[in-house]
């Protein structure tokens, strides 16, 4: 059983806003086959375990309910490895500038 998360912890909740059958008629087929999902972060109102229905108080002060996903969710976006297709551009354009017509 997942460990309960204490009230007041910064958490994320998840909920399905529209099920596949409820999607707007205009959306393309691949989107219509999947639900419209929502994820919001806030402070947990009452202790709960991941996977349980829970209430949060968002930074805007609103109370929202959904399935508790995790405590203190990480920001995982970054850069990753350098892109070889970009790495030599600086050297190339500096060489062009050093050429006969580009010289200061």
């Amino acid at each position: 059983m997942a460990e309960r998360i204490a009230a007041g912890t910064w958490v994320e909740i998840h909920r399905v806003v529209l099920r596949p059958g409820e999607r707007a008629p205009s959306v393309p087929a691949d989107t219509r086959e999947v639900p419209l999902e929502m994820r919001v972060k806030g402070f947990l109102a009452e202790a709960a375990a991941p996977g349980e229905e829970a209430e949060i108080v968002t930074p805007a002060g609103r109370r929202l309910r959904g399935t508790l996903t995790e405590a203190n969710p990480a920001y995982t976006h970054g850069f990753g490895p350098p892109i070889p297709e970009l790495s030599t551009i600086g050297r190339e354009v500096r060489n062009l500038l050093a050429g006969p017509r580009g010289a200061p």
Binding site: V17, L18, V27, E37, R39, A60, L64, H77, G90, L97
Partner: protein
Amino acid sequence: MTGGSYEAIMAQRGEIMRESLGLDYARYVTGALAFDYERLLADTGYDVDTARAVQGRTAVGNTPLVELHNITALVRSIASPGRGARIFVKDEAANPSGSFKDRRASLSVHEAKQRGYAGVVAATSGNYGAAVASQAARAGLRCIVVQEAFDSRGVAQPEIAEKTRACEAYGAEVMRLSVGPELFYVFLRTLKDSGYFNASLYTPYSVLGIETLGRELALQAREQTGRDPDVVIATHAGGGNVTGTARGLRQAGAAHTVLVAASVDLAGLHMASDRDFNRKSFTTGHTGFSVPFTVWPDRADVPRSAARPLRYMDRFVTVTQGEVFYATQVLAELEGLERGPAGNTSLAAAVAIARELEDEQIVVVQETEYTGAGKHPIAQLNLAKRLGIEVRRGDPRDGEPGRRIVIPEHPAQIAVVDVDLPRLRRLYLQHAVEALPAGAKPSDVDLEFLAADTRSTRTYVEETLHELGGKAG
């Protein structure tokens, strides 16, 4: 949170809009299609001097106009003798939240505060969210940002993940949604539930806030070079940037400056497709927004958009994703400015356009934006590679959005492709025909409005409507 099915909330759209904007668009209706655009803007009370004063109080605007000496030299090295205009960039990354969007957010948040709203809501996955959150923090207002942020596999667009972080850093609530236009339903429901102000990108406030940018850059160019900019290039998505910049240039008296709208070409990728969502290596400044918003601005999240780009653009060009990534790298390594990437769309276009101009002419790239984790060519290209998109050097014309990104091998390979403006005017009028109530005929006022909105003539509008009507019949 308030319930309400999709249909129920959409049916309350008009009422929710009135409540959340404090603005009754019905007052400005002058025909079946026409509305009094100038009066809608003027009635806000924000002329360019008032906007400047409001922005000055939160350190928005007065960004430097930086001459790109080395990129100019690079362009001259590939231009014919006597060609290669001087290139300048308006370093909008110097605004408090790192983009020109602070200008748009400042008047909206100021207005919300004046009118006594407790908070603001904005539907945006871009820099505008951070801008609204930043301005709201300073004004002591609550802020909710609704983003389209991840696909059905839970994979977040890295640039949007960074915007989520930035909004949360400024103390905003961020509602992250999966892909789909029903974001608008969640946005309406959130406005209704919170009672907050609708800080849409398409209100008069949001567009008037950019007039200061057009004016500043004209005055700075005059001061630094002794002449008006010959060309100003604005990255184009929803149309606000083009509209506000052009209006500001006019107010500065820069009557002969050519305004070029530039977008990244994402032809072939569907904007509402869950599969295509992360195959777009640009989240804004691309044709997925700019073409639909040019041919019908009133698809926005307000009843009538204050961003009406076809009225203002002199030219509309596209560049490829590979060309913008190349320009981003060149800006960092030759000018020491690590910015973008999406804001560098107009820089890529500038390389091609400046090359054809006389060397005493002036080209102004009208914005930069901050860069960082996720919001960076490295992050975007790593995601593209993970999704099986080919990334290679070569002729950027060989690129294909969602399948292949081709980064130029030489600056001479950077070129702009002109979008056919007469075709866009015709598409606009096609939408106008479809928007006409059944049985209604456009009045004189409507015809004049359509001519102004398409920057054409009444005769052209009448003839085109006749042809379109003929086809429909």
